[in-house]
């Protein structure tokens, strides 16, 4: 109710103990198109739904390589994402040069968190309006991390962020046990299924709007986009979807961010009905 007095600067607390600017920044992540990350013992996979600002333009790239053993996918303000991506690449490169070994994924994520935190506490700055899903492989195995504009970061078994991502998270939660011993191919298919669940009924995954990134025990971080995605889409083609997210309006984009999305991310239909997958 009194939000307007306390939401102009990131250095201002509200009487409820919240910093509204940070919450608004996290809203920007929820507006970005969905992306899903999951891992097995040997591979970490991220898949992303690419949005096109108009029919004339290309679909916005969502998955970015960081180093041979790390890649990220973004949701939110693309420009902020590019900045963090550049930072991560520089840190990885410097570490490899100094120590002749890959930077442990968790340490890189902590560095991103520390950098993001400054923007949540310094007057005149604003939080980064982007959430990342980081897929990496190091001596301790496979990793999926999530970072937020709040500068929190989370070590995840699997995660989905962006518009209508709750449906994807539900799919991931339901199938979590299957991931650990999956093959790379099966893992990618699970990711695509989770991603498909974030789509409205009339929209489907195509080679244009979907990209895949993976890294693992014997593979450096690789991105599959366009035609490379076709083989995996074909494998899940016939399957029934576990749930559609319902029809949503796509409002106008005005910030050049990752693409607009619905104001409210509508979750799955209310529980109580029979679940088709189980």
């Amino acid at each position: 109710m009194f939000r307007n007095q306390y939401d102009n600067d990131v250095t201002v607390w509200s009487p409820q103990g919240r910093i509204h600017q940070i919450e608004y920044a996290m809203e920007a992540v929820k507006q970005g198109s969905a992306t899903v990350g999951l891992k097995s013992k040997t591979y970490a996979v991220i898949v992303a739904l690419k949005r096109a600002p108009s029919e004339l333009s290309a679909h916005q790239k969502k998955i970015l390589p960081i180093d041979e053993h790390i890649g990220i996918s973004i949701a939110g303000l693309t420009a902020d994402a590019r900045l963090l991506c550049k930072y991560m690449r520089t840190e990885c490169m410097n570490s490899r040069y100094a120590y002749d070994q890959p930077l442990p994924v968790g340490r890189l994520v902590a560095m991103v968190g520390n950098k993001s935190q400054i923007a949540t506490q310094r007057y005149g700055r604003r939080p980064f309006g982007v959430g990342l899903l980081i897929a990496g492989y190091d001596e301790k195995g496979t990793h999926i991390y999530q970072t937020c504009p709040s500068a929190n970061y989370f070590d995840c078994k699997a995660m989905a962020i962006g518009a209508r991502s709750q449906s994807a998270r539900t799919y991931l939660e339901r199938n979590l046990d299957k991931f650990t011993d999956c093959s790379l191919e099966q893992l990618i298919l699970h990711g695509l299924r989770a991603l498909r669940d974030t789509l409205p009924n009339e929209v489907s995954l195509t080679t244009k709007n979907c990209s895949i990134g993976f890294v693992g025990v014997d593979k450096p971080f690789t991105i599959y986009a366009d035609d490379n995605v076709q083989q995996y889409l074909q494998m899940i083609e016939g399957e029934a979807r576990s749930s559609g997210a319902g029809t949503e309006e796509e409002p106008k984009m005005d910030q050049g961010e990752d693409g607009g999305g619905s104001g409210m991310a509508v979750d799955e239909p209310a529980p109580g009905g029979p679940d088709p997958l189980d």
Binding site: Y97, A98, Y99, D100, Q101, P104, A110, K140
Partner: protein, 258 residues
């Protein structure tokens, strides 16, 4: 003997090598107020390293020489970095103390992060090479030779770095006079073990190291007969002190004996 400061950003532009800071300041604008390392002061002599079956060991005697004076006779030139890594040094002792404090801080940082990753020998070797080369390139070297040893992913690691930033790995390394006197003995031991088809055992490695220090004490005029031995195996890293045996009974029949 004047002690010169070892930190300095830029080259000595005017070409006048002044060792006195006030002299430099009085001609400020022409000379940098910082001095560049021209010579070491308290120095350590050889450091030896050898790989054996299941581990690696390095050793260095415990004397710090002030020129020809054996000034500090209980110096430790070997540092236990962590469970998997040890580091030994020859050359300027103050420069070693500087690097030692940087490495100790790295170990503390690893302990604070506590993510299961800790400094391993290859990483330390790579990082230190970069530091040494960088200082050399600024014409202000850290006047040291380092031997880094440890277990790298279950395999023994042994590396060498000198003040020029020259760095390499080998089955046996030696710095200073050790490179001339001890290295042939170390290599002979390794070759014999290879020809026999067995690896070099820890006991045999220790024996050849002790033999090397005996010979070094006879021949290197800046050496000492007590040395520290650091052994790293998959069980961990330990540092112990050993007395080198020498027999000077024949000394009086050598030409020049007074």
């Amino acid at each position: 003997m004047k002690m010169s400061l070892i930190h300095g950003p830029l080259s000595n532009v005017c070409g006048v090598k002044s060792n006195d800071q006030s002299e430099a300041l009085s001609t400020a604008g022409q000379c940098s107020p910082w001095n560049h390392t021209m010579y070491p002061s308290v120095t350590g002599t050889s450091v030896l390293g050898i790989k054996f079956d299941g581990g690696v060991m390095i050793a260095a005697d415990t004397v710090g020489s002030y020129g020809s004076l054996a000034k500090y006779r209980a110096l430790s030139r070997v540092m236990r970095v962590n469970d998997t890594t040890v580091m030994g040094t020859g050359g300027d002792y103050a420069d070693f103390q500087f690097i030692k404090s940087l490495v100790e801080q790295k170990v503390i940082d690893d302990e604070c992060i506590a993510d299961g990753f800790s400094l391993n020998p290859k990483a330390l070797h790579s990082w230190l090479t970069r530091v040494m080369y960088n200082r050399r390139s600024k014409m202000n070297p850290l006047w040291n030779t380092y031997v880094i040893a440890g277990m790298q992913s279950g395999e023994p690691f042994l590396g060498y770095i000198d003040k020029l930033g020259v760095a390499y790995e080998d089955k046996s390394v030696a710095s200073g006079y050790g490179g001339y006197i001890a290295q042939p003995l170390l290599r002979e031991a390794l070759d014999a073990a290879q020809r026999a088809g067995t690896g070099l055992s820890e006991a045999a490695a220790r024996k050849v190291i002790e033999q090397c220090f005996t010979v070094l004490f006879y021949r290197d005029a800046r050496s000492w007969n007590r040395f520290e031995l650091a052994v790293v195996t998959k069980e961990g890293a330990t540092v112990s002190t050993v007395n080198a045996r020498s027999d000077w009974n024949i000394a009086n029949i050598i030409q020049g004996y007074e």
